[in-house]
């Protein structure tokens, strides 16, 4: 099998665009959570967001592709259901660890530590999936140097944007929590890449990913809050809508991150979607009036330069052939149809979207939950700058529309 040069270039371009769009939407997901004032336990906030994530991860694929396509994918590669659930569990534990890391050492130290996930992703991509092999030293250095520059930029931004008090009394535990979160998030991309090398559609993978995510998050919340959880949830019902919205926006970003992982690999996809920190900062400073400064400008420029270096170091034909070797290995190991694997990697087998009454029922149920919580939602008194907010929303929607259209044109959301 060979992907012609023109198609490979188009796939790489939509992969890079997906990485940047993921950054914008993952960063924007922080905005709705700012509507929530203190007084709600962190794991309850996390659980509420994951509920929104769960609803979005079932309703968006049902809308875009239909559950029939998802069932067809599972018939081809049923073992990936377990991999997806495992990745969901990794995400939930990592997300909970970050809450404790922020509590113990503050955001400025914790964020760069867990942002090391991109460096781990590069390692796993290289070791397990032939990424950056056959790429030449120039491209390898661009990706690794770009990721390191982004890591440095992230550190500057985190220090600049931190409003936390002095580190808590348990620095060892905080550092361990942040590093563990980075390790879990970096390792979570092994199942991602495995699924996409096997040819699975991201819209199928996320529906099973989120089952592991919700089950693990519920277990963690129950073990943390015990019998008090029901009361916590009842008390937070007037802000539940904003957290659901945060989860929904996050899923839009995550879907693009999945397509980035599929078409440019995890060594490039993870760092590019880590630009979410820039967007989160833009929302914080421009819309919510948080403090910025010279460090913010320096960190942002460093991060943008790193992202640009990675975006320009797209995979060559030689490297793509090494990816295909890794894909063939998966096909042989798990007995997956070679044609399915090949066309999936080339973004060619999405098929026409077919929606049945099941899909419309899923979409209606998810919408009803959102409407229900919107009806009891309290609009917080929060000073926001309307002009910059409109600009950021237009920019994010523009990226969504542009990249979504390009993905549709090139891959039909395969």
């Amino acid at each position: 099998m060979s992907v012609d040069a023109g198609r490979l270039r188009r796939l790489q371009l939509v992969g890079v665009a997906s990485g940047f769009t993921a950054g914008a939407w993952l960063g924007a997901a922080e905005a709705p959570t700012k509507m929530v004032t203190l007084g709600i336990p962190p794991v309850v906030i996390s659980l509420a967001m994951v509920t929104g994530v769960f609803l979005a991860r079932w309703s968006l694929p049902a809308l875009l592709r239909g559950s029939a396509g998802i069932r067809a994918d599972v018939r081809q590669a049923p073992h990936l259901v377990i991999w997806a659930a495992l990745a969901g569990c990794l995400w939930a534990v990592a997300n909970t660890l970050t809450v404790f890391a922020i509590r113990d050492i503050g955001l400025s130290i914790a964020f760069p530590l867990w942002n090391s996930n991109s460096l781990l992703g590069i390692l796993w991509g290289f070791v397990f999936f032939n990424e950056l092999r056959g790429a030449g030293w120039g491209r390898r250095l661009s990706v690794l140097g770009g990721a390191l520059a982004m890591f440095g930029g992230a550190t500057l931004l985190a220090v600049a944007s931190s409003h936390q008090a002095a580190p808590g009394a348990r620095p060892m535990q905080g550092v361990a929590a942040a590093l563990a979160a980075g390790a879990l998030w970096g390792t979570m991309y092994i199942p991602f890449r495995k699924a996409y090398l096997t040819g699975m559609n991201p819209l199928s993978f996320v529906t099973f990913f989120t089952v592991g995510e919700l089950v693990m998050m519920t277990a963690l919340a129950l073990s943390d809050r015990g019998a008090a959880l029901a009361g916590d949830l009842a008390r937070s019902r007037d802000v539940f809508f904003w957290l659901l919205c945060g989860g929904f926006v996050w899923v839009i970003g995550d879907l693009f991150q999945q397509y980035a992982a599929k078409y440019i690999g995890i060594s490039r996809g993870i760092p590019l979607s880590n630009t979410n920190q820039l967007w989160g900062l833009a929302w914080g400073i421009l819309v919510f009036g948080e403090a910025g400064g010279a460090q913010v400008i320096g960190g942002s420029l460093l991060m943008a330069a790193g992202a640009a270096a990675i975006a320009l170091a797209t995979a060559t034909r030689e490297e793509h052939q090494r990816w295909q070797e890794a894909a063939r290995r998966e096909s042989t190991r798990y007995g997956v149809d070679a044609g399915y694997v090949e066309s999936g990697l080339a973004g060619q087998h999405a098929g026409e979207a077919r929606r049945t009454w099941v899909d419309w029922a899923i979409i209606l149920a998810a919408t009803a939950v959102f409407v229900g919580f919107a009806m009891v939602a309290r609009v917080p008194e929060l000073a926001v700058h309307g002009g910059p907010m409109a600009v950021l929303i237009v920019l994010s929607l523009g990226l969504l529309a542009g990249t979504g259209w390009a993905l549709w044109r090139v891959t039909r959301f395969s």
Binding site: H79, F100, R170, A176, A177, K194, Y334, G335
Partner: protein, 32 residues
């Protein structure tokens, strides 16, 4: 499915995320 599950269990790549998950849960238990 059981056949492919068996293949997954023999796949070295499967155990990396499993051990990292167990490690993460242990860290979580320690810091709470």
């Amino acid at each position: 499915m059981s056949g492919r599950l068996g293949v997954a269990l023999r796949d070295p790549q499967f155990w990396v995320p499993v051990f990292v998950l167990i490690g993460g849960l242990l860290v979580l238990r320690w810091i709470r």
